[in-house]
């Protein structure tokens, strides 16, 4: 996507975020184009990609193998098979090679899994000491997608979960899974909807795993390109994301379950659910914007109308999140922040040491960097939607440009809320 000068065919916007809108119209991002911002977001993408490499593998493991295990104590104990599971967008066997690295688990991830913060010890002890990757974060994201997806009924994927076909597929898988477990089978007969709901949750687990399987190599590649001096600014990084989104937009979203060696296709690939519409957009809507209150140290008083009456009006996502204290909004960013802390590139570690409390509050600083980077990702999604649904930025027709502007303004209306961090990320003093 070419970077353009701001359009001179339209009068300046009078929107509260006019400056940001003009930047978007010029092919930029919501995040100002500064070398500091570029360095921050690329560095954090790298730190995000490594735990994400674990998230997607474990999510698929849970969705495909753990499935409806009523006591899933070891669902975060990723078997070697899934550590070696080749990523479809990295390595020699890739369907579409986005990252030049290996298809198996990232070496930094393997090293951390072996040592953790404490040192080498059995996996069980690492787990009990919580010296591990916080899969709870990934599951919280999945639950947000499930919750808001069910509420909003967005896309074909969510609608399919209510279809007779899905129920029949799920029924076969559930019956097979509990074939040798009569009590659970009896429970299933008594409360079929409960098991079906659990199955839907597993489908969303697979959905998110497949979404992140794409994003992890995208972020790894961006980090590599930056290290090679490839990105000149924030718009370059955003455009890489936009191009990546379009390149893999058609990636199928499915849910397969493996029971005693047999594959049950609860959501077959043949349904044609596309990555962009059935995973990426619901993910952004549910996780970036909405998620849920009652997380972290701040509790919300629903009776005092601190929580919107309508679930679709929720605004507790990372774009609004208060990462200062310990993660007071939405999906607990502290869990992800803790994960990213282990994989920061050296230049970002050095950068954080120079600001605020240095090592003492790196966790917060990287959380805010993450917030900046997610504004860049959201910018990419907005630009991708504009590209898919509206007109090019250099369209000569003023009416088309006006339509683009209306679209941008409508998108930025969502950040007029006082909690939105869009105002904050416009300056570097927000750390």
């Amino acid at each position: 996507m070419p970077t353009l000068e701001a359009s001179t065919k339209l009068p300046p916007s009078t929107h509260e975020f006019a400056e940001v809108i003009h930047r978007l119209e010029a092919g930029g991002a919501m995040l100002p184009d500064t070398p500091e911002n570029l360095m921050q977001i690329i560095g954090i993408y790298k730190a995000y990609a490594v735990p994400m490499d674990f998230y997607w593998r474990d999510l698929l493991y849970i969705a495909e193998n753990v499935f409806l295990n009523p006591l899933p104590f070891f669902k975060y104990f990723l078997p070697q098979k899934y550590l070696d599971l080749p990523n479809h967008y990295a390595g020699d066997s890739a369907d579409l090679r986005i990252w030049r690295g290996a298809a198996t688990a990232h070496p930094e991830l393997l090293e951390f899994m072996a040592k953790g913060e404490t040192g080498k010890m059995p996996k069980l002890l690492h787990h009990l000491f919580h010296d591990r990757v916080n899969m709870e974060f990934a599951e919280a994201c999945m639950q947000a997608m499930l919750w808001h997806g069910r509420d909003m009924g967005w896309g074909l994927f969510d609608g399919y979960l209510d279809s007779d076909e899905y129920r029949a597929n799920a029924d076969r898988a559930i019956t097979a899974y509990f074939k040798y477990n009569p009590p659970m089978l009896a429970l299933y007969k008594l409360f079929p909807e409960m098991f079906l709901e659990q199955c839907r949750m597993m489908s969303y687990t697979a959905n998110l795993g497949l979404f992140w399987e794409v994003m992890a190599p995208v972020f790894f590649e961006m980090s590599d390109i930056y290290d090679e001096g490839g990105f000149k600014g924030v718009p370059d990084a955003m455009n890489f994301l936009v191009n990546g989104i379009f390149a893999i937009a058609g990636r199928p979203i499915y849910h397969h379950v493996y029971i005693r060696g047999e594959c049950f296709e609860i959501i077959p690939k043949s349904k044609g659910f596309m990555w962009l519409y059935e995973a990426a957009l619901p993910y952004v809507e549910a996780v970036f914007y909405r998620t849920a209150p009652f997380r972290g140290t701040k509790s919300y008083n629903a009776q005092a109308r601190q929580v919107p009456a309508d679930q679709k009006d929720f605004h507790y996502g990372i774009l609004y999140a208060d990462v200062f204290p310990v993660g007071t909004a939405g999906i607990p960013p502290t869990l992800l922040m803790q994960d990213m802390l282990h994989f920061l590139p050296p230049y970002l570690v050095e950068y954080y040491q120079q600001h605020c409390r240095g090592e003492g509050d790196t966790l917060i600083q990287l959380g805010i960097t993450f917030q900046r980077s997610m504004y860049c990702v959201t910018s990419a999604v907005i630009q991708a939607l504009r590209q898919a649904l509206l007109y090019p930025l250099d369209d000569p027709n003023p009416k088309h440009l006006a339509a683009n502007r209306a679209f941008f303004e409508a998108q930025l209306d969502r950040f007029k809320r006082p909690e939105a961090r869009l105002r904050d990320i416009q300056t570097q003093s927000y750390r």
């Binding site: 701040k298 208060d322 200062f324 204290p325 007071t328 605020c356 409390r357 966790l363 927000y430 750390r431």
Partner: protein, 530 residues
């Protein structure tokens, strides 16, 4: 040894003052070294101190200006020893926590002089000598507030000066009255103690009232307290520690040493009035603290309220209540020092003391979590939560005073409830809640800055779980004081305002020429048993 405690810091102050071209840092370290020496000297007094003896120990006597009755007589007993130790420890912390670059020689020199003056006052066993030491710390403290204080420092310092000068004048008047009316040979404490019974009961009451008002200003007791909030708030945090932790104890010490110690009969008679006064002090201090929006001012009013417990313990005159009152002086010193220190840290890091502006400091990464946690501990100690030294002191006072002044004690217990109210307000608004994104870029608190607070918290906790270490120093002394006072308990003739008025009339129009001391008959049914 006792003289060393007084003169070592004075020599240190002189040395610092005469040291040419020394950097502020070097002066601070030197002052700290001197105070470390003072702490060691204090240990040299504390360790060999006989805790089973009620009387004065390590006595020193140097005849000085005999025509004036002024002797350099020092001694320490169970009443003064804990306060001397408190003074040494808190002054060490004051020096440690000061990083003064403006006129450092004067600043640290004055602190050392204040330390010497306060120690001297606690140790002096001659009334005039006490008065001299009592007055010596006046000008240094005035300067410490006026030069290094906040925006209204001149106003606060002048007010402090006027009030404290008035306090000194009243105390001097009381001492002169005692000595002259009793025809004592000199101003030595023991000499005055022996002639007090020769003074008519009404005049004793009048003198005691004079002393109570004099020391009440210093303590301070409501309504003589109005200098305190301004002085505490405008003083820099280390000086506020000096004022609240140490200087206020001069007032309560004076009440016990010279009020109760010299005039037990009058004290016994005025005890109901004092207990009622204590209730007013406790309730007023707590309610005023609840109304504050500035956390330093809140702590200042809290300090006023807590002095009421000391007064109640003294008024009840039981062994338990008096030892409780002395314990409360020490406990209050440590707790107030901790609270003022923490408030100082919060102000330095956050830039405000306003309750409305403070929030979420407990936040673990960007807040001041340890400082907040210690603030909670300090608040709990002040509110008398068990396990902390504040509980021990207040419990002893209440346990000792309930049998004598039941409803007054119950009202003071209600006062501790109010203490909990304002500390919950303070802690809830300051420590909890949401840290503001736009403001919360506070510098981190260094371990060197945390150290004094941790040390004070450790003392508060240790004395809370091992109260014997707090009370056994003063038990024999306070028990003896209680016994002396008990001898006056059954007195049929209580000193009331009527007898005081009568005494004033007698003073103004003496009916007979002064009677020689030896010829004064014992006062009817009020002679002490011992």
């Amino acid at each position: 040894m006792l003289s060393a405690l007084i003169w070592f810091p004075v020599l240190g102050a002189l040395g610092i003052g005469l040291w040419p071209n020394a950097s502020a840092q070097l002066i601070r370290w030197t002052a700290l070294g001197i105070m470390s020496g003072v702490v060691l000297l204090t240990l040299g007094v504390v360790l060999p101190f006989d805790i089973s003896a009620a009387g004065l120990q390590f006595q020193e006597l140097l005849p000085w200006i005999e025509p004036l009755g002024l002797n350099y007589r020092l001694g320490v007993d169970g009443l003064s020893l804990p306060l001397v130790a408190l003074n040494s420890i808190l002054t060490w912390i004051v020096v440690y926590s000061s990083t003064q670059s403006l006129k450092p020689k004067l600043y640290y020199g004055l602190i050392l002089v204040v330390n010497a003056g306060v120690t001297g006052a606690f140790l002096a066993q001659n009334l005039l000598l006490f008065f001299l030491f009592y007055e010596i710390e006046l000008i240094p403290l005035y300067l410490l507030i006026a030069v290094w204080g906040g925006t209204k420092r001149n106003y606060a310092a002048t007010k402090f000066l006027i009030y404290t000068a008035a306090s000194g004048a009243l105390i001097l008047a009381g001492f002169l009255g005692l000595t002259w009316l009793g025809h004592a040979a000199n101003f030595d404490y023991e000499a005055v103690q022996h002639i007090v019974d020769a003074i008519p009961a009404g005049l004793q009451g009048l003198i005691l009232l004079t002393l109570i008002v004099g020391f009440g200003i210093k303590t301070p007791l409501v309504p003589l307290h109005t200098w305190l909030p301004d002085a505490y708030v405008e003083a820099s945090p280390p000086i506020a520690i000096l004022l609240g932790g140490v200087l206020a104890k001069l007032g309560t010490y004076g009440l016990f040493r010279f009020g109760l110690g010299l005039l037990p009969e009058a004290w016994t008679s005025l005890a109901p009035l004092l207990a009622f006064w204590a209730v007013i002090v406790v309730i007023y201090g707590a309610l005023a603290a609840i109304a504050q929006h500035d956390i330093k001012r809140m702590v200042a009013y809290s300090s006023i309220g807590h002095m009421g417990y000391v007064l109640l313990g003294g008024a009840a005159l039981t062994e338990l209540s008096i030892v409780g009152a002395v314990s409360q002086m020490v406990a209050h010193g440590f707790i107030l020092a901790l609270l003022f220190y923490l408030v100082g840290i919060i102000e330095a890091k956050v830039g405000t003391r306003e309750l409305e502006a403070l929030n979420g400091l407990m936040s673990p990464i960007r807040g001041l979590p340890l400082i907040s946690a210690l603030l909670i501990l300090g608040g709990m100690a002040s509110a008398g939560i068990p396990g902390l030294v504040g509980f021990i002191a207040e419990f002893l006072v209440f346990q000792g005073s309930y049998a004598v002044f039941s409803w007054q004690t119950l009202l003071c217990v209600v006062g501790t409830g109010f203490t909990a109210v304002y500390f919950v307000i303070l802690l809830n608004r300051t420590c909890f809640g949401r840290l503001d994104n736009a403001l919360a870029y506070y510098p981190k608190v260094l371990w060197s800055e945390r150290f004094p607070a941790l040390a004070l918290a450790a003392i508060i906790l240790f004395l809370g779980v091992q109260p014997q270490w707090l009370v056994h120093w003063s038990e024999p002394t306070t028990a003896a004081m209680a016994q002396v006072a008990a001898a006056y308990e059954p007195s049929a003739e209580r000193i009331g305002f009527g007898t005081i008025t009568q005494a004033i009339a007698e003073l103004t129009h003496p009916a007979a020429p002064p009677t020689p001391l030896a010829l004064i008959p014992p006062i009817e049914s009020t002679s002490p048993a011992t």
